[in-house]
């Protein structure tokens, strides 16, 4: 059976004034369907770059990324957009809701783009998703009137809009207080329990308690790959 995610010798480098900076350096890894993976590491270790490549937001300098059934390097820009809209749900640290659309409209927007659900069903589906994340009563408000926790819940509802098998989250609790962060992580656990593959980039140590696997990055390399079954013992990963 195909893996949920497969990276083969992926490198991503940027050219800056001081020269080339290698953000991700020859990383190969496999993530299976239904895994809940945390990517941890210090700032600048390459976590977000790696996640962006999984989401198709960035393209690798070399190597290949295969995710949710597609070889991303073979897709055009519009092909990537269509693939992302159908198969990947994205959650960001700063929520990134569109400020002039209501919460419900923000959730409906990916459905509008993907056209996976009929027009007539989209509002009801958005309301069901908002109920699920606990903010159905905020559906017709603009994002700016919601608290940070409510906005992140709305963003998660938006990520689920097209029922994607893969959820990618970049510091989803980084801008929330601990109680709200805990509630958001619980939500991720529930979604993982439904069989979704989830990859979370995080600094939060609390995540360790709920994920099934933790990848530690340092200077663009995976320096540890720990599974819950091994009690997150440091894996033998060459640097």
């Amino acid at each position: 059976m195909e893996h949920a995610i497969q990276l083969s010798d992926v490198t991503k480098s940027y050219t800056l004034g001081a020269g080339a900076v290698v953000a991700v350096d020859h990383v190969s890894l496999v993530i299976e369907h239904g895994e809940f993976v945390a990517i941890v590491g210090r700032s600048g270790s390459g976590k977000t770059t790696l996640l962006n490549m999984l989401a198709g937001i960035d393209r690798p300098t070399s190597g290949s990324v295969r995710a949710a059934g597609a070889e991303l390097g073979a897709l055009s820009e519009s092909g990537l957009a269509a693939w992302g809209g159908q198969h990947v749900g994205l959650v960001f640290q700063f929520f990134q809701l569109l400020p002039t659309l209501t919460v419900a409209e923000n959730v409906m927007l990916p459905m509008d783009f993907a056209k996976k659900f009929p027009i007539g069903d989209r509002r009801n589906r958005a309301k069901r998703l908002l109920e699920r994340v606990g903010i159905a009563d905020q559906a017709d408000k603009l994002p700016s009137t919601l608290s940070g926790g409510q906005q992140q819940r709305a963003a998660i509802a938006r990520a689920l809009a097209n029922d994607p098998p893969l959820l990618l989250a970049d510091e989803p609790t980084g801008n929330l207080d601990s109680a709200t962060a805990s509630a958001v992580l619980d939500l991720f656990s529930e979604l993982n329990a439904e069989g979704r593959t989830i990859v979370v980039v995080t600094h939060e140590r609390e995540v360790r308690a709920i994920v099934s696997r933790q990848l530690t990055l340092s200077d663009g390399h995976v320096v540890a790959d720990e599974h819950a079954s091994t009690e997150f013992s440091r894996a033998e990963v060459p640097v």
Binding site: A55, I57, E77, S78, A81, A82, G84, G85, Q86, L90, Q96, L97, L98, P99, T100, L101, E105, M108, L109, P110, D112, F113, A114, I119, R158, A161, N162
Partner: protein, 380 residues
């Protein structure tokens, strides 16, 4: 564009209304200036040509060294009409004079055009209001735009000096619109039209020194628009005058056919204004480009979000193109009526206020009213 993107567009426009309003105003102002100048140029060129054409201008004017009597000129005209290529001819004269209005001298000179009372006015015509051709021997018709410039009203008495040096007093009996002349204010000269009978009243013999011709190409009955075809016919008439009447020809004028003699003045002014309009357009373009850049810079995160949740670039682009179109349409909607007004006003000014006083647009409508010989006069 999807329904939600339309909603987003509408709300984004509302959220940025002050910036967009400034943009609309900037574009509208520059478009108004530029459009007004372009419209004025197009209108004045077209209307000037149409109006000038309707005066049945001369293809050529032959200036005699020594003027001839009105009787001899009538004889010449009669015979010239039968010469090859000539389809119409008339004899005229013109002179300049200081002018005294109701006993008060004016600082500006006046150019007077004279034709015989029996001139049929089939060519070199003009429009008379308040009277008919010919004026009585003691009457004068004054160009409409010269009234204000010289402080003259209908009914006033004008004192002018004839070519022979006598001063005659004439009553202003009517006004004239002559599309072949530039505005009096622009030229700082008044224009007036008299019958040679007025000159005869001074007791001296009346003489004419201009023979005006309309020339047609072989087999044609309408005046030629080909200057090269007119020149040999005019030369032939000049030679004929020398050989048949022993007259000395001072000059043969063959202007570009149907080209208004003063169009270049309007063109020069409009080109200068057009340069100003282009500068305004350029400044506005820079301003709008900066504003759009700022506006879209603010939208970059939103563009990223939309792409991240599945929007194709084309759909996103359409939204911002639509926003730009809304601004452009609003600005154009404001600019078009303003530019039209400015263009028409400017054209009115360049055409000697003719359009507004005749209450018609285009000008040709007014001129057709003067097609009857009895309602027309001549000049030059």
């Amino acid at each position: 564009m999807s329904g939600l993107l339309r909603v987003k567009l509408r709300r984004d426009l509302r959220a940025s209304w002050s910036r967009l309003t400034l943009m609309v105003i900037a574009i509208a102002i520059s478009l108004t200036v530029f459009g007004g100048v372009v419209l004025a140029r197009a209108a004045s060129t077209r209307e000037t040509r149409d109006a000038y054409t309707s005066t049945e201008p001369a293809s050529a004017t032959i200036l005699l060294d020594e003027p001839v009597s009105t009787e001899q000129m009538a004889d010449i005209v009669e015979q010239v009409r039968s010469l090859p290529g000539v389809i119409e001819a008339t004899g005229r004269t013109q002179f300049s004079s200081a002018v005294v209005v109701n006993g008060m001298p004016r600082g500006m000179p006046m150019q007077l055009f004279a034709a015989t009372p029996d001139d049929a006015m089939r060519m070199v015509r003009f429009e008379i209001t308040g009277a008919t051709w010919p004026p009585s021997p003691n009457e004068i018709f004054v160009a409409r735009d010269a009234l204000a410039v010289l402080g003259i009203s209908v009914g006033d008495t004008l004192g002018v000096e004839t070519p022979s040096g006598e001063t005659i007093e004439l009553t202003v009996a009517g006004t004239v619109y002559d599309p072949s002349l530039s505005p009096a204010a622009q030229e700082q000269t008044g224009r007036a039209y008299i019958s040679t009978a007025a000159l005869a009243a001074s007791g001296r013999p009346v003489e004419l020194d201009q023979l005006k011709l309309q020339v047609a190409e072989p087999g044609q009955t309408t005046p030629s628009e080909n200057r090269q075809a007119i020149i040999p016919v005019a030369r032939n008439v000049g030679d004929w005058l020398r050989s048949e009447y022993g007259l000395s020809v001072r000059e043969i004028q063959v202007p570009p056919p149907y080209k208004h003699p003063h169009q270049w003045q309007v063109d020069s002014l409009l080109v200068a204004l057009l340069a100003g309009g282009l500068a305004a357009l350029l400044l506005s373009t820079i301003l709008v480009a900066n504003m759009l850049n700022n506006l879209f810079s603010q939208q970059i995160p939103q563009i990223g979000i939309m792409k991240a949740v599945g929007a194709r670039s084309g759909r996103i682009a359409r939204q911002y193109i639509a926003m730009t179109i809304v601004v452009a349409v609003a600005a154009t909607a404001l600019a078009v009526p303003a530019a039209t007004y400015i263009g028409r006003s400017a054209a009115d000014y360049f055409l000697g206020s003719s359009a507004s006083t005749r209450q018609t647009w285009p000008l040709r409508g007014g001129l057709t009213r003067s097609s009857s010989p009895s309602d027309s006069g001549s000049h030059h």
